[in-house]
Amino acid sequence: MRGYLLRRLPSALLVLIAASFVIFAILRLVPGDPATTLAGPDADAATVAAIRDRLGLDAPLLSQYVHWIGSLLTGDLGPSYAIGGRTADLIGDGLGATAELTAAALLFVIVLGTAFGVLGATSRSRWVRTAVRVTTTAALAVPPFVSGVLLVLLFAVVLGVLPPGGRVAFLSAPDLAAQYLVLPALCLALPSAAVLGRYLKDGIERGLAEDYIRTATAAGIAPRRLLWRHTLPNALPPVVTLLGMQVGNLLGGAVLVEAIFAWPGLGQLAEQGLQRRDYPVVQDLLLLLVAVFVLVQLLTDLVYAWLDPRIRWE
């Protein structure tokens, strides 16, 4: 296994190095730079030049690149050019907020998806099954930027029971933080919960038609035990695979939901960084995302290799 890992590492590093070149170059190719952003629309050329000099933007590109890679290797990402604060702090805070939102949404996906699947497949009431079908169809059809606004209108403006946006750090006030989290997490979770619920419903329905269920029923096993101990576990594997794929969707969707609910996560940070041409923030953020992707690929390869020894010897 160690040999396999060593063989895979160089290509992963190569991808990271290539990505760093591309990210660095693309940002410089886009017109506008942090100096013009900081100088403002009414600035003169001397002001822009002074700011460029202070930020080191008039140094040769190679030198700027080396400086950036050096900051990554030493772990000191330096200050943000245009947003303010330390780049590492900005990315760390954003990452924490996005992870919190995604985790809460995942919880909603599991709870709601299971409820949709079980009720849709097993309820004896036609009305309940129809309600589940309509709800999942609506959750799939309505995009988050619409459902988000509707949720805010209902729960924040009309009922006034939940805040319409913003974030309170979980560790500082968990009770308040949970209330700020409910609406964005629900908005983010709804489409994925609907997908999960539909897959689960199909799985349960197929399971219930199996011979062993008939036998178990004849043997007098209680219906509830039949569902939760025998049918549901057999319907779960494909759903779990799907859930894994939905995590990616949730992370992507979080960017949009963050804007609707003023959630200060990575999506907002990336948008702000790009708007202000904050090179350190955008570069480090993009490279971090590439690194996460490379790491996931590497782990996947390792799991495959662990499962199938032939791959290790290829």
Partner: protein, 530 residues
Amino acid sequence: MTELYPLTPPGPSRRSTLRAAGGSTLLLGLGLAGCRSAVSDASSAPKGASAAPKRGGVLNLAVNADFAPALLFAQSGQSLQHRLIYNTLTRYDDRLSPKPELATSWTYAKDGRSITLRLRDDVTFHNGRTFTADDVIFAVKNLQNPVRAAQLRSTAAAVTGFEKRGDHELVLKLAHPVNNLFDLFEFMIITDSETVEDAVTGKKLIGTGPFKLKKWSPGSGLSLTRNDTYWQPGRPYLDGVEVRVIPQADALISSLRSGQSQLSFDVPGKSLGVVKGDPHLAIKNYDTGAGAVYLGVNTTVAPLNDRTVRQALAWAIDRDRLLAQTLGGYGLASAAPWPKSSPAFTEAHRTHYTHNPGKARQLLKSAGHTRLELPLLHLALPGDTAIAESIQYDLKQVGVHVTLQPTDGATAQKKLISQGMPALWTMGHGFAQVQPSTLAVSAYPFNEAKNTSKYRSAEYTKVVQEAWTEPETNAAAANALHEKISSILLDEAFLIDLVVRGQVQVTADRVHGVALNKFSYLNLDNAYLV
């Protein structure tokens, strides 16, 4: 009742479903009852509130963009918090007459080449240090530094000498008279010199203002707490201010309507209809406006190098429709840059160009054109796109076919500063709300020496310089020069003003005593919640 499977009805029964639902509701209810409500927590008011000013409570201010510490000394869209943390030397009243703040009185020399300032002696910074004349000297020198990107740098640079007379009296010596020195004093925040580098990274913001910075959370906003040693006795009334960043317009409005926020200046004009219908929210429109929307013209691109063609464009645009459709009617349709509060404002200048497509076509014809094709750059934001489309429609009616070039902010700014704009562009400008000469010396699109339109004229340069260096005491002469500047701007039409944007404040009915200075610094010294 329908049987799904003849052999097994394993689904939850109605009883168990109801039991589960009831249990969940009970748990949720108990959970919520046992903890604080985020909604009431966000809209706290002082206990025993009445209509009279009362101390206490935290005001939540909703903004659409985060505080940008790097722009602390520049005029930017994120200047609201400046007057909460810092003070300025003076403040203008509604007639641009300066009133004391940290400077208690002032005397101009007869030749206009120096001014003596007497300063308060009872002011301390948030870190306990005493405010002295040295802090004013530092503030002026700080703005002279190009890296601070202060738009009033040219005025700060006119201060060439300092003479301290004790700790609380100071003479500023000027290279030449300037008539916008009090614009500088209104704009220039007094910061603690020892921590200024920490201020521009957002680490420490130490001022003498009514509130101290508790925390800045990038992307979320600022938490400010009351400065108990503020120099104004009994002020501020509020215990604190929470500045919340809500970039999305609908979310910002929801925040106001739900009571989570009680004050905002960032509700788009088109959305104010929703706010108007809410009995708990009040709208106030400031006469100073929030900058102007203009159509920029590159005077080196044929046929726009012909003044007649530029004037035709100015006649072609329906400013009233643009104001109504893109800004919700909040603002002032105007051919001149000045808001109503400006000493240079006249109704004749405002209506110098009205919507007259016939006249526009006639002027184009007289210049030898019946059909033109030109590019128009605009910011790729919803509001700016709507403005560009409105201009495109109007120009098409007179035979000028415009191709829109949506561009992001940083790119547009680079083109603006580097004179790289195409034939036409539309953006916004500030600085018309203060002394008129400031516009021509500090706003790049109007700069007589170098501007985006590449317009140069000896007459314009002469008038601008005269207006800027006219001693502030000679109001009649200054007004005559402002009149000349307006005339040149209107006749030459290298920058065609369209609409002065409304500076619109939305407050919950519980909020009183909110004020703005001329650079949109929020003043909450006298604000209170009821």
